[in-house]
């Protein structure tokens, strides 16, 4: 990890690039700094904190935030008194670990790399654009990023929202959308795709902080097109956040408030006072985009983001250089994470031969056998002043003095600092400790570190017991230091009791079958198969239809590419020719069992006499089952030949029929979506409508095309096409769900009745053709969900393991998802997601084995009565019944076990115990607690 580092030059070719970088000095030795914070306290100079958007002051010598990585302070040379004026240096003697070093100089490094991933993020909207919205003229006009810092509980105002002008709590807040987006005035013609969602989020968070605050969001279209995003908008509306479709013309100070002038779509002008105005700023290309382009030689698009195309969304014109994240185009976190994994996969495919050569393997000393009597060491942490300002750490430490088994105890300022960890290791060896109790913070964050230390010292990692005297004592009982100290002593005594009973648990590894099973032969499935093949792995690709291609075969062109068919053809050929891909058509999965690394599935392929069942052993499963167009009722779709879907219209427009682009066409968006039959937004239909409208205008420029919509969600660069359609005379008229357009036939004419919200009148038109923008429903997810025990969302799409951080993994280990099975999305996003799923699926295959967390359940065969209650209760399918002699017994499949403990708590004969949490261990803890209580009662 090279921070404070600039890229200077990139030469060479894929597999062998030479990179020049320059690392600017931190002026602090990273290895010596303990992040104690003393230097910041002593530094006399103020410095606007850029991390808090300048809303607070810090010092030139500082750390951005407590959890920062690397956890090392640094000096900002722009305001340091010594670096600017050669005075001061007060920090140097203050630092007890002598970490400050003003002698540090910039260092140039040359690195040899095989591939480059560019993920420089996005830039800020310029001050000039913000000025158009009176930013800077009044202190109560803030950007959404400033507002975000304001609402953050750990931010400069501890989450308190107040007006900068006089410190009052704002009673009324206005959000203005599309600041620096969808605006040719600042050359940002695109939609930034994320502002609608973050505005809704910030509005809801502000309401949490102050339930009285009234919030209005002024918007053109609410673009909550992502998975489950519409639900967030509904939640916001249900708690009273007001959405007003209007263009804000002016913001002027008025008394102690801000007066907003806005014009609604119905043509009225309104004035309304607010206490605070938040500008929802868009994402701009990174400020140094052209510099990056000059250095790396990659091309940019007209908005200065990296140039990309639909079929290869992440590759650039320079081979070996790929892009990911907002630099590829404005996008949200889940999509950035998806692209990041995809980019990693692409780089891995490029460097297949060199895989594993650069990895540093860590060796551990031989684990000591556990035969001796317990020798427990107790380490109590001050956590700076986090614990010791409330809890009497020395009293807690001394309380263990005469406890059975305790041979060593000490305290430490920061148990987790690098030097303290090293001391811990030495102490374990020196005093021959075989059990360790650490009274500090949360095991959720720090247990892995101490387990690692035990391994380094030759002990089994399961022989450490952590006590959380920070969260559970000093934090929650901050006002009662004595009680907090008593409780700490109780908890430590209990942990010591448990430590005496701790047993080493073996770390298990299970070998992996290096093959993937991919379900679905559409674009997503094919991309997964090809990416895995590029990385050197075999796959079996199942397609339920007769041919590969899926929905892509139904498309003629996309908004940015005319070569859909050629691409598809090439792709199918590549898949069929690839020796690592085994394609089975008319195939379905019948049965699947096993766990990550070791699945076994039965697949039925072919029809009639040629139907055959195959058994496939595989290590991972990728679900790319796709979806199909929904056919809603109530729009005469099945009854009238003049009512068709956008997909059918696209096909018709691509044909040769004379009247393929008739003189009047009405398109109805969200037909059957967003609360109609389907509850969700299908993300692609707005683009599809714009694409077809443009095509009609191309064939028949005089055609009257009317698009009835609720919100036009042409996010990202598709906004350009939306603008083009308007310029070419396509008419866009918004409607509400309460006033849906009615389609009916009278005599031989087809009628569409709707309320024209622009003219404010009821309309009844007789178009030649009605095109419905219908939603997407997933294919066969319910059956697969049961088969694989993989959960679905309410809308029947697969539910990912973590919406933002693990967007292509399912909660079941070894199962991945991409494409429409995950949620409706356009082609480029599907391709990137498929590449990401392939990269993630390759991880267990690369490792060759899966290691199992030692804390799993285990069944004592002697006591098990074979009732199979646990098998039915286990939510992960991690317990199976086996025959031992003539009796049925339960057995844990360790690799699938998530250690939830449901089985152990329900077993009628206590035959199941959880590693690290055995009945014996927990009972001894309770007894240890009870002993003191008895003593106290006796004293009273």
């Amino acid at each position: 990890m090279l921070t404070n580092t600039d890229l200077l030059a990139l030469d060479g070719k894929p597999g062998d690039f030479t990179v020049k970088v320059r690392q600017r000095p931190r002026y602090i030795d990273a290895d010596a700094c303990t992040a104690c914070g003393l230097c910041t306290q002593y530094c006399p100079k103020h410095h606007l904190d850029p991390y808090n958007e300048g809303l607070s002051l810090t010092r030139p010598i500082h750390i951005d935030y407590a959890q920062a990585v690397p956890a090392t302070y640094y000096i900002d040379p722009s305001s340091c008194l010594y670096l600017q004026h050669e005075t001061c240096q007060i920090c140097v003697p203050v630092c007890q670990s002598h970490a400050i070093n003003f002698e540090q100089q910039p260092e140039e490094l040359e690195l040899n790399v095989g591939a480059v991933i560019l993920s420089p993020g996005f830039g800020k909207i310029s001050e000039e654009t913000l000025k158009k919205f009176s930013y800077g003229k009044h202190p109560d006009i803030v950007t959404s990023v400033e507002f975000e810092r304001m609402t953050t509980a750990s931010g400069p105002f501890l989450g308190e929202v107040k007006c900068f002008s006089d410190g009052r709590h704002p009673g009324r807040i206005a959000f203005i959308q599309c600041v620096g987006s969808r605006d040719l005035g600042c050359d940002n013609g695109y939609c930034s795709s994320v502002c609608c969602m973050y505005a809704i989020k910030e509005a809801m968070v502000a309401r949490e902080h102050d339930p009285e605050v009234e919030i209005t969001i002024f918007y053109m279209d609410i673009r909550t097109q992502g998975k489950e995003f519409d639900k967030a908008r509904q939640r916001a509306e249900s708690i009273g956040i007001r959405f007003v479709r209007a263009k804000v013309g002016d913001i002027t100070p008025w008394r102690n408030q801000l007066q907003l002038t806005y014009s609604t779509f119905a043509g009225t002008h309104e004035f309304e006072p607010f206490d605070m105005v938040v500008l929802s700023v868009g994402l701009e290309s990174p400020r140094d985009a052209s510099g990056i382009s000059d250095i790396t030689g990659i091309e940019l698009n007209k908005y200065n983001f990296a140039k990309s195309d639909t079929f290869n969304p992440l590759t650039t014109n320079r081979e070996g250089v790929v892009v990911a994240g907002a630099f590829q185009g404005p996008k949200d976190i889940p999509e950035s994470v998806t692209q990041a994994s995809a980019a990693a996969g692409l780089a891995a495919g490029l460097l297949k031969k060199q895989r594993g050569q650069g990895i540093v393997h860590k060796d551990y000393p031989q684990e000591k056998s556990d035969t001796d009597e317990p020798r427990i060491g107790v380490f109590v942490c001050h956590c700076g002043i986090n614990i010791s300002s409330v809890v009497d750490v020395h009293k807690v430490e001394n309380s263990v003095e005469n406890m059975e088994g305790v041979v060593y105890h000490t305290d430490s300022l920061y148990s987790c600092s690098q030097d303290a960890v090293e001391t811990l290791k030495k102490t374990i060896i020196e005093h021959n400790l075989n059990r360790v109790v650490i009274a500090a913070c949360s095991p959720r964050t720090h247990e892995p570190l101490f387990q690692e230390t035990l391994k380094d010292a030759g002990l089994n990692p399961c022989l450490v017991e952590m006590v959380n005297i920070r969260d559970q004592c000093s934090w929650v009982h901050a006002g009662e230091p004595e009680a907090a100290t008593d409780k700490s002593q109780d908890l430590v005594r209990m942990a010591v009791a448990k430590a005496r009973k701790l047993k080493p648990l073996p770390e298990q590894t299970v070998p992996v079958t290096e093959r993937a099973l991919i379900i679905g032969g559409g674009i997503a499935g094919m991309i997964v198969a090809l990416s895995l093949a590029d990385q050197g792995y075999e796959s079996v690709l199942l397609e339920k239809g007769k041919t590969l291609g899926g929905n892509l075969g139904l498309l003629n062109h996309t908004l940015s590419s005319n070569e859909t068919a050629t691409h598809l053809k090439k792709l199918v050929v590549r898949v069929k020719k690839n020796k690592k891909i085994d394609v089975l058509t008319q195939a379905e999965i019948v049965h699947s069992s096993g766990f990550i690394g070791n699945f076994s599935s039965v697949v039925a392929a072919g029809t009639g006499k040629t139907k055959k069942e195959h058994t496939v052993d595989h290590g991972v499963i990728v679900l790319a089952t796709g979806g199909h167009a929904h056919r809603p009722d109530g729009y005469l779709l099945e009854e009238s030949s003049r009512v068709i879907t956008q997909q059918e219209l696209e096909k018709r427009l691509a044909g040769r029929a004379k009247n393929r682009a008739p003189d009047s066409v009405i398109m109805i968006q969200c037909a059957g979506s967003r609360g109609d039959d389907l509850k969700y937004c299908s993300k692609i239909c707005c683009n599809h409508a714009v694409k077809n409208a443009l095509q009609i205008k191309k064939i028949n420029p005089d055609s009257q095309v009317i698009v009835l919509y609720r919100d036009m969600r042409t996010y990202g660069y598709a906004e350009d096409s939306y603008r083009e359609a308007r310029l070419k005379g396509v008419v866009f008229i918004p409607y509400d769900l309460e006033q849906k357009p009615q389609v009916y036939e009278k005599g031989r004419r087809l009628h569409v009745q709707f309320f024209d919200s622009l003219m404010q009148e009821e309309m009844d038109m007789t178009p030649d053709l009605v095109a419905l923008s219908v939603g997407i429903v997933p294919d066969g997810t319910e059956d697969l969900s049961k088969l694989l025990k993989a959960p679905l969302t309410d809308d029947k799409f697969f539910l990912e393991a973590h919406v933002k951080l693990r967007p292509v993994e399912l909660p079941v280990d070894g199962v991945y998802v991409c494409g429409l099975a995950h949620g409706p999305k356009p082609l480029d996003e599907t391709i990137a997601q498929a590449q990401a799923a392939a990269a993630k699926a390759a991880i267990p295959l690369v490792k060759g084995s899966v290691s199992v967390d030692p804390i799993v359940s285990s069944v004592d065969e002697e006591t098990c009565i074979g009732c199979s209650l646990c098998v039915n209760l286990c939510p992960f399918g991690a317990i199976e019944m086996i025959k031992v002699g003539k009796r049925r017994k339960a057995r844990t499949i360790s690799a699938s076990c998530k250690a939830c403990g449901i089985c152990a708590s329900h077993c009628p004969t206590f035959a199941i115990s959880m590693g690290g949490f055995t009945n014996e261990q927990i009972t001894s803890q309770i007894e240890a607690f009870g002993r003191a209580t008895e003593k106290e009662t006796a004293e009273v």
Partner: protein, 62 residues
């Protein structure tokens, strides 16, 4: 890290240590590659570290 030429076969450079860069770097190490993560600021994390909560679930995601 020493001065001068670093040579490791099969390494990848990631430019930018925001959420995308960090995720790419983590995935690459899991896929068996050595990664140089180059970040111009003094800390990694990028803009996401400035965020309080994230949509659509409004949790902190840290």
């Amino acid at each position: 890290m020493g001065k001068g030429m670093e040579h490791r076969a099969g390494s990848v450079m990631v430019v930018g240590g925001g959420i995308a860069g960090v995720q790419a770097a983590l995935d690459l190490t899991e896929l068996g590659y050595y990664v140089y993560l180059v970040e111009k600021a003094a800390v990694v994390g990028g803009v996401m570290a400035q965020l309080d909560k994230t949509f659509p679930t409004n949790d902190c995601s840290l």
